[in-house]
């Protein structure tokens, strides 16, 4: 990099909630360090850069793009491709860009069912409504456009080449700092990990960082979180409360189990595991305390909606991909 040249950075959101942007704000005074080291050329939540400014950039002009959010519609895909072209390093930032995230649960239903709910069958819609948003609307001599909605949600790497993945919903601020520091350090000759690496997370399981007391896991009954008061000291899974800690990457700071609530896997599967939910199923199979099929069925009835639980953050990244009917 040329002397005195600041890093050129974009932060962008696809189908997202803004929590990843708040995670950047939650680095607090470190934001000022970022500002010293980098020019933020696009960050819609906080900075006034427009798409035309990005289009005017040379290819590769941006050193880094942190892209959060899933790919839900044609605009998300177009901007992802535009930013990929303009960026040397493209990072899928947060669970949605990495795995599809919670918006990816939409892959368990259909576009038509969603439409019907939003615009026709719902308790507060205007009585007699027949109108639906359209990708093109004629107003006088002009046409107004809306992006086209895809049938399903994609993760970022389904539509563009991604260099690194930062998991988390949202990524823990300490991890955000670590990732940004590593990129800033490249200006002084620091090197980046191999392409495709998951960064800003641990290679251990969440259980390895959880302070709850663990004994032998033998589960004779699952409880839904509202059915029991959790023992704050003891492993949640051993109490029969679903927790994905054994199969989920650590790095979040154990924030859900520390709130007495089970992990839902936002940091994604352990290294080398392709399908997070299948890995969880296999982990559960090994701890159910029964050999009797009827009894096993009864125990598993304690986990309604296994798919929506075990793939909470990653339907689009799973072997399932999507449901073809609602």
């Amino acid at each position: 990099m040329a002397e005195n040249k600041k890093l050129q950075v974009a932060l962008y959101w696809g189908a997202a909630c803004g929590g990843c942007d708040v995670a950047v704000l939650d680095t607090n005074e470190f934001i000022l360090d970022i500002a010293r080291a980098a020019d933020i050329r696009l960050w819609p939540i906080a900075v006034d850069g427009k798409y035309k400014d990005v289009e005017a950039m040379a290819d590769g002009e941006l050193d880094l793009c942190l892209f959060n959010g899933a790919v839900r519609n044609s605009e998300n895909e177009e901007i992802a491709k535009l930013l990929r072209r303009k960026s040397k390093v493209m990072v899928a930032f947060g669970s949605c860009a990495y795995m599809g995230g919670i918006p990816g649960l939409a892959n368990l239903t259909t576009r038509e069912a969603i439409v019907d709910r939003a615009y026709f069958h719902n308790p507060s819609i205007q009585p007699g409504n027949h109108t639906m948003p359209q990708s093109e609307t004629q107003v006088g001599a002009e046409t107004l456009h809306l992006p086209r909605f895809y049938k399903r949600v994609y993760k970022l790497s389904d539509v563009v080449d991604v260099d690194y993945f930062v998991p988390g919903c949202p990524p823990a601020p300490a991890q955000v700092k670590g990732v940004v520091r590593a990129v800033i350090a490249t200006a002084d000759g620091g090197s980046l990990p191999p392409k495709g690496t998951v960064v800003g997370a641990s290679d251990r399981a969440l259980c390895d960082d959880c302070s709850r007391a663990k004994a032998e896991k033998k589960i004779a009954r699952f409880y839904r979180p509202f059915q029991v008061v959790q023992d704050p000291k003891r492993c949640l899974l051993e109490q029969g409360i679903v927790c994905m800690g054994p199969v989920t990457r650590s790095g979040c700071g154990v924030r859900c189990p520390d709130s007495n609530m089970g992990c839902r896997g936002c940091y994604g599967p352990l290294p080398g595991v392709h399908d997070h939910g299948a890995r969880f199923l296999s982990a559960l199979a090994s701890v159910i305390d029964s050999k009797d099929r009827t009894e096993i069925d009864a125990i598993l009835d304690g986990i309604p909606d296994f798919i929506g639980t075990a793939y909470r953050f990653g339907v689009p990244a799973s072997l399932l991909q999507r449901s073809v009917r609602s």
């Binding site: 929590g19 607090n28 000022l32 819609p44 939540i45 006034d48 639906m132 049938k151």
Partner: protein
């Protein structure tokens, strides 16, 4: 020949949006559309999930105000289980929520809105942001702002385990209580925040009220609408963010209605336009009359200013003082000057901090009875809270196993979709002069119209449509001026790859 000006994306707000301005042959603004291009589909994809999981799923509607969705959802889920909640849990949720308000209001006021006032509406866009603000006001003040927002986040984390995307609320209460040592740690943080809310008011007096141009812009600029006000109030008609009744007051100060959360569908309905994915709520009993102002209009705002407009008083003394000062300066209540929302946010923060101080002194707050195990599933619940960006309604039903069967959401920003559309057009019409190319400063002043609302299109775009046959009606001045039909080919065959 028509010319069009596109602002895309609009910036310094949460979520996606664009503005399309059409100019006539003479260069005057003919029409203006505020379009929301994005949606996600929460109302449908929460169906089939265990109902108690919803408070930790719907947080992802918005990462800036996740606690609003968490709380509204928790209250709707409480309702699905019969509604019994441990009393201290209500207090803890409310205390948490006040800290959340402060985090969000600081983020909006300082990072999103302040650049327009501190740097100036037509400053270089490259510095018209929070980093420019810090450079201008100095690291000392900048550091205080960063620290105050961090404190607000930290308080939430200490009370509820997480700040962004809490997982803490369960039917009947919360998953963890507040211990005495945790409370002792929080107390000085709350005290510091209370000081910061007064500091912010003083900063507003110095920078905004001290500048005659800004005061004139607030009071006499085009940023004003003759539409009504909505907000949640307690039994004394003081603003309450976590619980209460929804009050609607017209712009002359007369109460239009006051309803309980369970009655929302009798009072509010949502209109659809083909050119935006976001619906347009209106007062149902008055019917949809188009994007029109006036005493008979069915359009309302649900904003910090609207909340203060519908209130008779604030709930705490310092906030009451700030409230009186604000209305005395503005000269009338209700106030229609939308830029005063920035001020209203700061008045609300005073109440937030004072309410937290009150909870810090409440001996019950550290009770270990923070949950009741629900006795049964009753199957339906409606939760309303006042999100920072407007009245937020979550309505769920579930089956006898506690599996979600339906969800309907009317989100804070969605309430403001119609007034934002209207004021954006009004400001564009006033500021864009025929024959003069609008520069980026003028276009930014158009953006200041929606920024007053602190809109969040992450929140608002929770649902997701596709393509359906339709009848399009374009309304102007309350009249249908064009009607046409299209799309006999029904749902798009999706010949494209996606």
């Amino acid at each position: 020949m028509t010319r069009r000006i596109v602002i895309d994306p609009i910036t310094r707000l949460e979520g996606h949006g664009k503005v399309e301005i059409f100019l006539d042959a003479g260069g005057a603004v003919e029409d203006c559309y505020f379009q929301i291009p994005e949606l996600r589909g929460f109302e449908r994809f929460v169906v089939g999930r265990p109902i108690e999981e919803l408070p930790r799923i719907v947080t992802r509607i918005c990462g800036v105000c996740p606690a609003s969705h968490h709380m509204a959802s928790a209250k709707a889920v409480d309702g699905c289980f019969g509604g019994e909640v441990a009393p201290v849990a209500h207090k803890l949720r409310d205390m948490y929520y006040h800290a959340h308000y402060i985090h969000s209001h600081i983020a909006h006021f300082y990072a999103l809105a302040a650049p327009d006032f501190i740097m100036g509406p037509d400053a270089d866009p490259a510095v018209r942001n929070i980093l420019g603000v810090v450079a201008k006001v100095g690291l000392e003040i900048g550091g205080q702002v960063i620290r105050a927002r961090a404190l607000a986040q930290d308080i939430q984390q200490r009370i509820g385990g997480r700040s962004t995307h809490p997982v803490w609320c369960l039917p009947g209460g919360v998953s963890k209580g507040l211990t005495q040592p945790e409370l002792e740690e929080i107390k000085p943080m709350v005290k510091e925040l209370a000081g910061f809310t007064q500091f912010s008011l003083q900063l507003f007096r110095d920078i905004v009220l001290g500048n005659k141009g800004y005061v004139d812009l607030i009071l006499n600029g085009p940023y004003s609408l003759d539409v009504h006000n909505m907000g949640l109030v307690d039994a004394d008609n003081a603003p309450n963010f976590y619980d209460g009744m929804v009050r609607v007051v017209d712009f002359e100060g007369k109460e239009i209605c006051k309803y309980k959360p369970t009655e929302y569908a009798e009072y509010v309905a949502e209109h659809v336009e083909p050119w935006s994915y976001l619906k347009f709520p209106y007062l149902k009993k008055r019917g949809w009359k188009g994007f029109v102002e006036g005493i008979d209009s069915s359009i309302y705002c649900a904003t910090p200013l609207a909340r203060l407009n519908v209130a008779d008083r604030m709930a705490t003394p310092g906030a009451e003082e700030a409230y009186q000062e604000m209305y005395t300066t503005l000269g009338r209540k209700p106030c229609k000057a939308l830029l005063a929302n920035h001020w209203a946010r700061l008045v609300e923060m005073v109440q937030n901090a004072e309410m937290m101080e009150r909870y810090c002194a409440d001996p019950e707050i550290t009770s270990d009875q923070f949950r009741v195990i629900p006795r049964g599933i009753t199957g339906e619940g409606i939760g309303i809270v006042e999100a920072m960006r407007g009245t937020l309604t979550h309505h769920y039903t579930c089956d006898d196993k506690g599996i979600c069967t339906s969800a309907n959401l009317i989100v804070g920003t969605t309430n403001n979709n119609a007034p934002i559309q209207m004021v954006t057009k009004k400001v564009a019409r006033t500021l864009i002069q025929p024959g003069k190319d609008p520069d980026q400063g003028i276009l930014n002043m158009v953006e200041m119209a929606f920024r007053a609302f602190d809109p969040c299109y992450s929140c608002a775009t929770h649902s997701l449509p596709g393509q359906m046959p339709l009848i399009v009606r374009i309304h102007k001045g309350g009249e249908v001026c064009r009607e046409f039909r299209r799309n006999v080919d029904r749902v798009r065959p999706d010949g494209a790859s996606r």
